[in-house]
Amino acid sequence: MDTVLEISGLTKRFGDFTAVDGVSFSINRGEVFGFLGSNGSGKTTTVRMLCGILTPTGGEGNVLGYDIYSQTENIRQAIGYMSQRFSLYEELTVVENMDFYAGTYSVSAREADARKKELIALVGLEGKEKQFAGTMSGGQKQRLALACALLHQPPLLFLDEPTAGVDPLSRRNFWKILHQLAAQGVTVFVTTHYMDEADQCHRLGFMHQGRLIGLGPPSKLKNDLGVDTMEDVFIAFAERGEEAVRER
């Protein structure tokens, strides 16, 4: 299996505060990688460094073969990114939003036309092409934002809490699409707070106070800790993290 992302000893300090502290892991092609941790654990800072919008203080890393210090422009052009705020323009229609993001990734007009049709079908927004983004439901906005992030056919997709504030049925549909993408070879890097979603990932990473304190497939993590549910895995890791901090 080929590696799409690899970091070692990645560190980010803001003044005296160490937000990310020597984090190392790698992700393979076609994986759905779940990134977990409580608020302020360093999740978002790590994602921002991987996306090339924040310069690390230390450590090494490459994303899709591009260096995270010197080749951030290549990284930004190559990856797909979707934020929890579904960054859509509400007064633009579904197609106009897609046209805009196609333009920002320099996708040619002809290619964009083909991709739009394909993606509208994938995320199930057929017949809604001319609807304004502002008038859509949370689930529809989320799927449109996903379609916008996929226009330039990124081999690696970053999703920052993509299901925050969306109803359970929409969440389930959304995860179905993610697995479809992974089956096509797209690597999915997703941060989430939902444990049922964590269960659906191929592999998980647990962050606590800037450190990676657990890494592996959900079933292995459950076995190792001797628990039955992801909820228990999360609690066990959180407690272990607290102990580690006290010993430090």
Binding site: C51, I53, L54, Y81, R85, S87, L92, E96, F100, S106
Partner: protein
Amino acid sequence: MNGRRLAAIVKKEFIQIKRDKASLGIIIMMPLLMMFLFGYAVTTNVDHISVAVLDQDKSAASRELIDNFRESTYFDFNYYVYSQKEISNLIDSGRVKGGFVIPANYSRDLKRSGSPQVQFVVDGSDPTVARTAMNTATILAQRQSMDIRVRHLEQRGVSLDSVPGIDFRPQVWFNPELDSIKFNIPGLIGLVLQNITVLLTAFALVRERERGTMEQLIVTPIKPRELIIGKLIPYVVIAFIDVIIVLSIGVYWFNVPVKGSMLSLMLQSLVFLLVALGLGILISTVARTQLQAMQMTVLLILPSVILSGFIFPREAMPLPIQLLGNLIPLTYFLEILRGVILKGVGLEYLWKDVVILFVIGTATLTVASLRFKKNLD
């Protein structure tokens, strides 16, 4: 600079403006409203001053005096009264701005070659009206007095040509009627252009930040300068449409023709536009919310109205205030506008103003881009 990305931003921005009623309102209604409000309300021309007259003589001579005043169109004799008390009552109530008192011995004194006293009182609470009334009344009365004397001399067989005097011929250039609208219209073009561009561009980046779309834009390959230029292009187009609206109203409605070159006027407006866009974007990088952006814009516009010489002549301001006005970009643009529109002069006289505006414009745009880059990290 990537053309495809730039085009995407420009197109998106145009669609957003087109669908935003508030922006459209500012673009279309603001120039119209400001032109007609300022065009009619901000006028320092004073005529048809309402006055009362107490004619105690009631002779052909006194009527001749009143007729001369009336024909000047500066005075409207709305009240013929019978006592001094009535005049002061009318002035107190604000129904007249002044009153004439012609004494009962007026025609008799004139016949005896005397100089009868004609009294004129003015309400000085509005100095502009009072000054015009006083000056005009003095000139009209002197002319009447002169006419009477000439008539007397001619009756005695003395020709006017044999008496020495000055033949004074004042001449007013550029605005012979001294019409204040001609002075106001060019200034209005500058003010409208400034207000609209600064306000709209101030919102441009703040809106993205407020709605969370900025977070997404940062992750895309768009470069900061592409985003700024892409956002500015639509406003340049809109600002020029507004310049044309305002100029057309000035030329065709208020009859203030452009004496200089239209091309030169447009090019010099473009330089001022650079400044206005820079200021707007600068506000956009400082303000966190649209409300803050609005407040900062108002804070910027108010002093520019007063200090630039838009309404109040800068020559009349004390030196420190004049120097403060030198810091306002609109001051220089007003020189340009009035120069080209009223005097018909070109760059040979205005190049200094153009250079200063260009420097201010480049500086603000540079600072704005640098600040914006910082915000990303």
